[in-house]
């Protein structure tokens, strides 16, 4: 069965610093992979997606993620964070029962310090 693990429940970064949020997936096949972001009191929004091809995918607001088959990972990165990036970030992948529905990691809360 496919699952998604985000090992860090909370990450604190200083404004202007670089960021990496970790995501590990378990799957016997190369999956589709997604990062979603949830700002306070809002629903989730798609940040970026990986289907195939170039392992580095670009998203909105300067975010990018890198797929690694050897490490079963799909880490999210940003070169310089802004206070407005404070949110909860979710990694997601289609679940084993069907590619048309997603299973989500537990999320990583990103806190930006001034």
């Amino acid at each position: 069965a496919q699952s998604v693990t985000q090992p860090d429940a909370r990450v604190t970064v200083s404004e202007g610093a670089s960021l990496q949020l970790r995501c590990k997936y378990s799957s016997s096949v190369t999956p589709y992979l997604f990062w979603y972001v949830q700002y306070p009191r809002q629903g989730l929004q798609l940040l970026l997606k990986y289907y195939s091809g170039d392992p580095v995918v670009q998203g909105v607001n300067g975010f990018e993620a890198e797929f690694s088959k050897s490490n079963s990972s799909f880490h999210l990165r940003k070169a310089s964070v802004h206070w407005s990036d404070s949110a909860v970030y979710f990694c997601a992948a289609p679940w084993a029962g069907g590619a048309d529905r997603l299973t989500f990691g537990k999320g990583t809360q990103l806190i930006i310090q001034p």
Binding site: Y32, F34, G43, L44, L46, A92, A93, G98, L102, F104
Partner: protein, 114 residues
């Protein structure tokens, strides 16, 4: 275009009451999902519709949870009877045909059961 609309945004219920949450998906979207979000469990899939047909009825949630799609632009989630453990944010999402994993979420309905 209007996004996913969920009502009510907040609901407080007594144990044993019947609650109906409502969702209007993005116009033209083919798939509709109901998720439950809690801090401990994260996002859990409750129901999934494709072209108004029920594809996933939530497994462990079948007992007291019933989602319906009355037409392509309106869905309800009924919880009957409510229990305190149902306190959570209920998220509705829709997705266009062929866009695997690209979900558009509403802002959620926060349910508190006393």
């Amino acid at each position: 275009d209007a996004g996913v609309t969920q009502t009510p945004r907040h609901e407080v219920a007594e144990k044993g009451q019947t609650i109906i949450l409502k969702c209007e998906p993005v116009s033209g979207h083919n798939d509709l999902f109901w998720y439950r979000q809690t801090k401990i469990q994260g996002l859990e899939l409750l129901s999934y519709f494709r072209s108004k047909s029920l594809m996933e009825d939530g497994g462990a949630f079948k007992d007291r949870f019933k989602a319906e799609m009355l037409n392509s632009s309106f869905s309800t989630l009924k919880i009957q009877p409510t229990e305190p453990k149902d306190s959570a944010v209920y998220l509705c999402a829709s997705s266009p045909r062929g866009a695997t994993g690209q979900l558009y979420f509403g802002e959620g309905s926060k349910l508190t059961v006393l």
